[in-house]
């Protein structure tokens, strides 16, 4: 099992519903977020092109954050989801420094926090909160090993990219372009 997500940059309007849904679902402390919106505008006026992305932890296959963790708090859970065991984390911030996507932060309680792909929902057969609320239905989630999962299907029909592939992290969040 390999959980992954695909996000359609052509459909995303940057409404931030996914951000709020995650904060509510996961009780993210006020002022913090586990997913966020990035708008990049490329080109020179008047030929400009804007891409809107909903970003989060990429649950990388080759995660530097898991590798550098001195206690084993950061680990691979089922389906390759990268999680932090709170009462093993000493809050050394090594994993925060190691993530090229700045996807982690220190929770006010001291441990490191980040996106969990809503494993608690996925275990019950539900979609992650962000995927389920998206008004444009631009996110796809599922198991890459299952050819019939929404994410596998959309990746066979659309062009996609991952962020900073040169960092060697092998991300599992795909952006449809």
């Amino acid at each position: 099992m390999r959980y992954a997500m695909a996000i359609d940059t052509k459909k995303c309007v940057g409404c931030s519903d996914c951000v709020v849904a995650c904060q509510t679902e996961n009780n993210v402390p006020i002022g913090y977020c586990r997913d966020w919106i990035v708008e990049v505008t490329d080109g020179t006026y008047p030929k400009l092109e804007t891409e809107i992305r909903s970003e989060r932890c990429n649950h990388c296959d080759n995660s530097p954050c898991v590798r550098c963790c001195p206690t084993g708090a950061s680990h691979y859970a089922e389906g390759g989801i990268v999680l932090v065991t709170h009462d093993m984390c000493i809050g050394c911030s090594a994993c925060i420094e190691s993530c090229p996507y700045d996807a982690r932060f220190t929770h006010p309680d001291g441990y490191v926090d980040k996106c969990t792909f809503c494993l608690h929902r996925v275990d019950k057969g539900m979609e992650p909160a962000c995927v389920s609320v998206c008004p444009t239905k631009c996110m796809y989630f599922g198991d890459l090993d299952d050819p019939n999962s929404p994410v596998s299907k959309v990746l066979t029909t659309r062009k996609y990219k991952v962020l900073a592939p040169e960092a060697g992290t092998k991300p599992n969040v795909y952006y449809l372009i």
């Binding site: 990035v38 708008e39 001195p70 093993m88 000493i90 090229p100």
Partner: protein, 313 residues
């Protein structure tokens, strides 16, 4: 051309707008670790070379300070932890791929070793020192028999600790300014330089001072070579590293880097040491303070600069 990049909805504390997860604690820890590594290395080395009496400050006096330096460094590291009550988790596992884990275990080995060495030499600072209990004296006589083994360990662990202070940063591929393997040798050299400077300050013996001034001069030249090598390596690397090196080559940290690290931390003390060798009297405190300051500034600026450098996507 990239016109604009907007990240909305994310203002995570210590992450945005610029990553600042590591503050002053980590550079202090790296500096003190490097200094302790330098002192242990020279103490072990000159003991093994049988120069205990020729270089008493290096072999016997300076190492007494090491446990204090290490404790301060560990305290700085402890302050950096956000989930302090769980710090013991560091010692319930050994994680080969994690430099932090390596460092924690190296320090676990080196701290008691340095304490024993310090206890054996404490009379250098307090000539009237006498252990209160006979059993401590018995232990002292017993460990004194293993001084040679200890010296070997000090040399080896000193080098590991010195290199580790650089590897802790260089292992992070995500921060292009850190991601150069020259950082290990560079920080080791900087630690050796800091160590020899402190020995010069403590030593009362002219011959010993001159010897360590010579050693320090050589280390400074090596350090300068590593710094040039590092900057050239960045220039010949990928876009993110070229961008990162601009921090020191025209960007935000250019002035502090060249003024504090290169000129005041390396070139001026080297000049003063050459004058000393030419028998021109220089108050020893001046080059020593400059070297220690430069060594600290190198770690400070690397820690800060690294967090300002990032992947572009």
């Amino acid at each position: 051309m990239r016109e604009e990049l907007i990240i909305s909805g994310r203002m995570n504390h210590l992450i945005d707008p610029v990553l600042h997860a590591w503050g002053w604690e980590i550079p202090v820890y790296l500096f003190l670790g490097g200094l302790a590594a330098g002192l242990l290395f020279f103490a072990g080395l000159y003991y093994l070379l049988g120069k205990e009496n020729e270089f008493p400050a290096a072999v016997k006096k300076a190492p007494v300070l090491v446990p204090i330096i290490l404790s301060l460094g560990l305290f700085a590291l402890f302050l950096d932890l956000h989930h302090k009550l769980y710090f013991w988790r560091l010692y319930t596992t050994i994680r080969i791929e994690s430099p932090m884990s390596w460092g924690a275990w190296t320090l676990m080995a080196i701290t008691p070793l340095s304490m024993v060495w310090a206890a054996l030499n404490i009379k250098e600072w307090f000539p009237n020192w006498d252990w209160k209990y006979q059993w401590i004296r018995d232990i002292e006589t017993f460990v004194a028999g293993y001084k040679k083994h200890m010296a070997w360990l000090m040399v080896i662990l000193g080098v590991i600790l010195g290199i580790y202070t650089g590897i802790l940063l260089s292992a992070f591929n995500a921060r292009p300014l850190w991601n150069t393997s020259i950082l290990g040798p560079l920080f080791l050299a900087s630690g050796l330089s800091a160590g020899s400077a402190l020995i010069m300050l403590i030593s009362k013996d002219h011959h010993e001072r001159i010897t360590f001034a010579r050693i320090d001069l050589i280390v400074i030249v090596v350090e300068l070579f590593f710094i040039i090598h590092m900057l050239m390596g960045f220039q010949a690397s990928t876009e993110v590293q070229i961008e990162a090196s601009k921090l020191f080559l025209g960007g935000d940290l250019t002035a502090p880097f060249w003024i504090f690290v290169v000129v005041l931390g390396l070139l001026v003390p080297a000049g003063l040491e050459i004058m000393e060798l030419l028998k021109i009297k220089i108050p020893v405190i001046v080059p020593v303070v400059l070297i220690l300051l430069g060594s600290f500034m190198l770690r400070w600026l690397m820690t800060y600069g690294g967090q300002m450098s990032r992947y572009l996507y």
